[in-house]
Amino acid sequence: MTVTICDTTAEAVAGIRDGSTVLIGGFGMAGMPVQLIDALIDQGASDLTVVSNNAGNGDTGLAALLAKGRVRKMICSFPRQTDSWVFDGLYRAGKIELEVVPQGNLAERMRAAGAGIGAFYGRTGVGTPLAEGKETREIDGRTHVLEFPIKGDVALIGAFRADRMGNLVYRKTARNFGPVMATAAAVTIAQVSEVVETGTLDPEVIVTPSIYVDRVVAV
């Protein structure tokens, strides 16, 4: 359905419910939708499951959301960083659940959610604690682990430019998880540096087509 170009980040995050699974883009701070997360903090949704590569950096963005106690569970590949003190504190205090997922499984499981794949067999994590209890299967003589999709109720992503239809382009390695998360969530909300007129982005270079984008806000 047609994208909504929002005037404010508050409008962009309106209606996110308590208990939602929220996919949050970014790899470290690159591509992190900080203004949308700030708006989500103001909006007030709590008891969230957040899926993001990291578990917050410093005191802003995802770290600020965590600090407010709004997140029940983090699903990520790499929570522990030099500046992940907010998450570290919550985790050590037993105030947050953590599911560590290998980074490639995190990406591929979200792709599966977006692509209508019910489950897939991959080799990542075979024989490691992160595959414990998961179903396995021998394919071509190699052990594979069965992985299921990760779907989001909402995705918050950062992109570079949107056109007024909602087509998105990204910038350098800030692209990272944004395009995958956009496909995997029921509602995808993008913050961008600029909204341009429809027809000014080259159709050959669109990374996220408008079909995946529900709301856009320039920040």
Binding site: G116, P203, S210
Partner: protein, 210 residues
């Protein structure tokens, strides 16, 4: 009066909500594009890798690198986007298209679709993207004549032709009537030059009034 194919296409077009993302199958469903209201922001998908496809190309617009799923040269509209086949089918299979419109040999009372193979042992089977659309689109609309040239109904208790998808069809637009396939049964929404009783008489499928 029964509808001709252009009237059927217009009827389908009228039921597509503004802002929908739509895939139109090869053949008659392509005609729906001519009847979509301008300015409604309806975006056409073609499975060979494009969103916001424009009308058929004419004259100098013809570009062999820009075709639709039927290999007909087409044009692009402002805001179109290209992507590769795996991305295109991920879009279809992942449930992102609002509507697809396909032709059919048969549709069953519970929404099974048969539109890829007549079952004739001499026929060369060819399925294309029909099975992906059948399971992937949020709403599957079929557009067909209600009866074959030999007068056999194409809305049937059970398909006798090889299936394309199970319980996937939501609506059937025909020259004689429009049918809604629901959990409660097949509802006749509109009739064209035929009465509900005549329809009930000619079809082996229990029909419900709207």
């Amino acid at each position: 009066m029964s509808l001709d194919k252009h009237e059927m296409a217009a009827l389908v077009a009228r039921d597509i909500a503004p802002g929908s993302y739509v895939n139109l199958g090869i053949g008659q469903p392509t005609l729906v594009a001519d009847h979509l209201p301008a300015g409604a922001g309806i975006v056409l998908h073609t499975e060979n890798g494009m969103l916001n496809m424009g009308p058929a190309a004419v004259g100098d617009q013809i570009d062999p690198d820009l075709t639709n799923a039927g290999k007909i040269p087409v044009t692009e509209l402002p805001g179109s986007a290209y992507f590769h086949h795996a991305d295109s089918f991920a879009m279809m299979r992942g449930g992102h298209l609002d509507v697809c419109v396909m032709g059919a040999f048969q549709v069953s009372a519970n929404g099974d679709l048969a539109n890829w193979h007549t079952g004739d042992p001499d026929a060369i089977p060819a399925v294309g993207g029909a099975m992906d659309l059948a399971v992937g689109a949020k709403s599957v609309y079929v557009m067909m004549t209600l009866f074959t040239k030999r007068g056999e109904p194409k809305l049937v208790p059970e398909c006798t032709y090889p299936l394309t998808g199970l319980k996937c069809v939501d609506r059937v637009y025909t020259d004689q009537a429009t049918f809604l396939i629901t959990d409660a049964g097949v509802i006749v929404r509109d009739t064209f030059g035929i009465t509900f009783e005549e329809l009930s008489d000619r079809l082996d499928v229990p029909l419900l009034r709207p």
